[in-house]
Symmetry: C3
Subunit: 137 residues, 3 copies
């Protein structure tokens, strides 16, 4: 079987946010065995998996990203859309635009500490659209 869901995430402030529950709220059923592919339709935000417990992990990851990919680098040429825009594009390719998670016995088979992160890299990114494709048997 294959099933697909289009989900509009509410606007999040810049930083990393756990969206596992928000995503799964839209998925009525999972196959016994399979893979869930979660894809973000944007180039200034990203999806990744990381720790679902201590909120400081999300904050530290964001702090590191902001230092590694700085705003206002003198060599940036793509600057018309704001100081946060080109760094957001770079961050989106570093983190990736999709995550794929195994499904086992009709459940997502992540580790105990894993959650789905939205990386919102714009100051005012607005709503973000994701496409979830579930396939398996």
């Amino acid at each position: 079987m294959i099933a697909q869901y289009s989900i509009l995430l509410p606007a999040c402030k810049r930083g990393f946010h756990i969206i596992t529950e928000e995503v799964m709220r839209h998925i009525p059923v999972l196959p016994e065995t399979g893979v869930m592919h979660v894809f973000i339709q944007h180039t200034s935000a990203a999806l990744t998996l990381n720790e679902n417990a201590d909120i400081d992990v999300r904050k530290d990851l964001d702090s590191w990203m902001n230092r590694a990919v700085k705003e206002n680098e003198p060599y940036y040429m793509h600057t018309l859309e704001g100081a946060d825009d080109m760094p957001a594009h770079i961050k989106s390719s570093l983190m990736g635009s999709s995550v794929s998670i195994p499904i086992t016995q009709h459940q997502l088979n992540m580790g105990t500490w894993q959650g789905i992160y939205l990386g919102e890299f714009r100051n005012n990114g607005g709503c973000r659209k994701i496409i979830v494709t579930v396939y398996g048997e």
Copy 2:
């Protein structure tokens, strides 16, 4: 259904290049609903998704990568294949060797501004081989 295509990309100069049209030219049909997996068979190049409009995004992403992953670091030991080789390996793992894109109503379901990027990290990388696997119903 599942279908697979082996595509040889023409040699590209070092930097990021949009290959969406070049890839899709080889894919005669997509299922109604599914996922398209695009895989590069090399460890000194990568695939990622990013903005398909302003060419400056590709240039700035390349500029950032070249500063983040420098050539001739004194601690590099893998140096026999040239100054651009070890940085190319690092960049390939940072960007990733594949992208997976949802298929909806027989079309790639990317966002308006998304395109498939080839990251060519060698000065003379030559042709690059990619394997596209399309699955769905």
Copy 3:
């Protein structure tokens, strides 16, 4: 067809390790055409593809990662689990928690020089659990 395997990797020391053979040892058969999805259930380790030949590539990649994502940054707040923990979380999102590899004629269709890397980012990460999902026809 779809098949899934749960594999416990023996404890590895910090750094990058090629696990292609260890993984494939657990996969009795591959479909004629398909994709193999390899997923790690942890947030302080990662999976990536890179060169399977010169061991110096693994060492240099680790050296670069340790310099790019330093321990004991004064702005880290998630510090209770040790100096290597928060860097490990950052590295895991940079490299990614899964790899997807095409299957062609019942074989993994990687490039000649590609291998599956485990990125172990903790000093004492212990055994790591991965879930392999194979699908195709």
